[in-house]
């Protein structure tokens, strides 16, 4: 049992981290009233930037490379998401369509530039990915230490910390209150002097930053290179986590951890006695089936922010 936990928990944490980051981004965007189907594309952009930066600067930055890479990916993700913000907030385009376009655009740009810069459809493997470590002190604790804190990625814990920060920001600060107000009832918020457009831009740009971060963490911990098949569906799974977590940062984190567990079980499950007989496909589709059930109200009611998906037009009733 102990061995099983020691193989499952770190793998689950490692698969969850990118989902947590991206799902938190989704929470910010949707809470401000902008649906973000483009999470997948934002992750693609993050993965692309993270890998390319890492390959280019590995010689200069040495062991710091992966950290600087994810910071750069975060910034580029934020900038890239401005396209979605301009289209869906200022130009009042359909948010779902704009998100779909973001997905196509990110993959197109990523693979196009990869082919130009590297002369082939995929980049080389990065020399400076994230490595597993033992967390000092905590890994010394008996039982809990080896399961949770030995041979893990620091990024997994960073993701969990960011989730708590996101919760604090959304629920304990004036900024968070304004962001949520804009997503629930933009006209009332506007009447109270909140700049609806500004808050929505911030929401979308935060989702771009966190999506970029999630994508780069995924690329630098799990795949180590970039190609058209680096990110396949993780963004949509993060979107599922947003909904399954009921648009709450900690809920989204919990959902992402759970989906990460399902993914990790489909990888290491063969070595676990009870799970060896469960066909992999059930674990693969579990996140999506559960999300539909959650939406249908079979697992608690998941209700979207009220103004989510509706462009705000000043002066319209």
């Amino acid at each position: 049992m102990f061995d099983i936990l020691q193989s499952i928990v770190p793998t689950a944490l490692f698969y969850s981290a990118p989902l947590i980051f991206t799902a938190l981004g989704g929470v910010f965007s949707e809470r401000s009233g902008v649906i973000n189907i483009g999470l997948e594309g934002l992750m693609v952009m993050g993965a692309f930037v993270g890998i390319v930066f890492n390959l280019t600067f590995a010689d200069v930055l040495g062991a710091w490379t992966p950290w600087v890479s994810i910071v750069v990916a975060t910034i580029v993700g934020a900038i890239f998401s401005i396209i979605h913000a301009v289209a869906s907030i200022s130009f009042r385009s359909d948010q779902t369509i704009s998100g779909v376009a973001i997905n196509m655009l990110a993959l197109g740009i990523g693979v196009y530039l990869t082919k130009i810069w590297y002369g082939k459809g995929q980049t080389d493997m990065v020399q400076q990915p994230f490595y597993t470590t033992d967390i000092p002190l905590l890994s010394e604790i008996p039982i809990i230490g080896p399961i949770f804190f030995q041979g893990v990625y620091v990024t997994s814990y960073l993701a969990i910390i960011v989730a708590f920060i996101a919760w604090y920001v959304l629920y304990k600060t004036a900024f968070g209150l304004r962001l949520r107000a804009v997503g629930e009832h933009p006209m009332a918020a506007d009447t109270n002097g909140i700049n609806v457009y500004k808050m929505r831009y911030i929401g979308v740009i935060l989702s771009g930053a966190l999506g970029g971060l999630g994508g780069s963490v995924f690329a630098l911990t799990i795949v180590s290179n970039f190609s058209h098949s680096t990110i396949v569906g993780q963004g949509f799974m993060a979107l599922a986590a947003v909904i399954f977590g009921k648009w709450h940062p900690l809920g989204a984190m919990g959902a992402a951890l759970f989906f990460g567990l399902a993914q990790s079980l489909s990888v290491v499950g063969a070595g676990v006695p009870l799970l060896a007989d469960v066909p992999q496909v059930y674990l693969l589709i579990a996140p999506y089936v559960l999300t539909i059930l959650a939406l249908a109200g079979f697992i608690g009611r998941a209700e979207a922010p009220k103004a989510s998906g509706i462009p705000y037009i000043k002066g319209n009733r």
């Binding site: 385009s93 693979v111 089936v289």
Partner: protein, 349 residues
């Protein structure tokens, strides 16, 4: 004024495509390619000889159907982002029937096609009923259904249709849409009879929307649910029906790939994108059947022509994906184009 509006509706897609192509040219220039050489290669790749024309039409065929699927749902105010999954299950069902049934062509082929329609319809029924009865947003449910379709289809291909393999055997000729005649006049491209089915489907959509009570009700629900309900229409029935019909179109697109182009189905590593591209097709075609056919042809030509760009001009094929994404942005942001057009008009006076 009405005339003016109509003109703008036609102008917006055209302007968007032009802007997209101009942006593509700028990207080519910025990355050190010759845009004229690039677009020449694109043109040759799509219409250079009878073979490429055949392949362009082959590629257009499923786009027409997924475009219709999404356009049909849009008319009732629903967003069928799940065409992707419906294509997969349609494809799977068609191949399954193609392999499992042994019958003369007159029974076998229609049966395989019907199977794809039924599978697509069933896959879309789930989000339809959830929307109608529980008010669950169809966008999210259809996205989730895409991945359920993807992983389930892969599992069935591995475990049921093959013995742990990644590609099924080819379907027998009795279930195939392949046409030796169409192939021979297009220098052995993979063009097949499916294009006729796709065009017929466009006529069916036009007929349902414009000439039947059902179509009238569907449009009414799309414009205003509450008013339709007040007028005595069964809103939830119409929602479910719309999704089912939309799913049927998308499922049929799967049959085009399965029975027409490939004759097999393989394990998929990720999205096959026929469904997502259908969103672009529907949007550019202004959700109108004829518009969808034109838009599908444009995207079919762009995608097919892209294949020639690396050899003809050294430009990566993904340039076309960027152009298509930009075209979607431009059409979706039509508010700003419309504003600019009206502004321009005012300036004239």
């Amino acid at each position: 004024m009405a005339n003016n509006k109509r003109l703008i509706t036609i102008l917006i897609p055209i302007i968007s495509v032009l802007l997209g192509l101009i942006a593509g040219a700028i990207i080519m220039l910025a990355s050190g390619y010759n845009p004229i050489a690039g677009y020449t290669a694109l043109w040759n790749g799509a219409f250079g000889d009878s073979y490429t024309i055949g392949e362009t039409i082959r590629r257009t065929t499923p786009y027409i159907l997924t475009g219709l699927s999404i356009a049909f749902a849009f008319r009732t105010g629903l967003f069928n982002i799940g065409a992707e999954g419906q294509v997969i299950v349609g494809w799977l069902a068609a191949i399954w029937v193609g392999l499992a049934v042994d019958a003369p062509m007159i029974i076998h082929l229609p049966l395989a096609i019907l199977a794809s329609i039924a599978a697509g319809a069933l896959w879309a029924f789930v989000p339809g009923i959830l929307k109608a009865k529980l008010g669950v947003h169809e966008v999210i449910v259809t996205i989730m259904m895409n991945y359920i379709a993807l992983f389930s289809a892969n599992e069935i291909i591995r475990k049921v249709l093959t013995d742990g393999g990644t590609t099924t055997e080819s379907i027998p000729a009795t279930a195939s849409l392949a046409s030796p005649w169409l192939q021979s006049i297009t220098f052995y491209s993979r063009m097949h009879y499916g294009i006729l089915i796709a065009l017929f489907a466009a006529v069916i959509m036009w007929f349902i929307i414009e000439r039947t009570t059902l179509g009238y009700e569907l449009k009414a629900v799309g414009y205003n649910q509450h008013a339709s309900k007040y007028a005595g229409m069964n809103v939830s029935k119409n929602i479910v029906l719309t999704m089912v019909i939309a799913g049927a179109f998308a499922g049929l697109a799967g049959a085009m790939e399965g029975l027409g182009t490939y004759g097999t189905i393989s394990v998929m590593s990720g999205n096959i994108n026929i469904g997502f591209d259908g969103i672009a097709v529907a949007l550019l075609g202004a959700n109108n059947p004829l518009g969808v056919v034109f838009a599908a042809f444009l995207f079919g030509a762009l995608k097919e022509g892209a294949g020639e760009m690396p050899t003809g001009a050294g430009v990566p094929t993904e340039l076309v994906d960027i152009i298509i994404a930009l075209i979607i942005f431009f059409v979706a942001s039509s508010y700003i184009i419309r504003w600019a057009l009206l502004r321009f008009k005012k300036g004239e006076k």
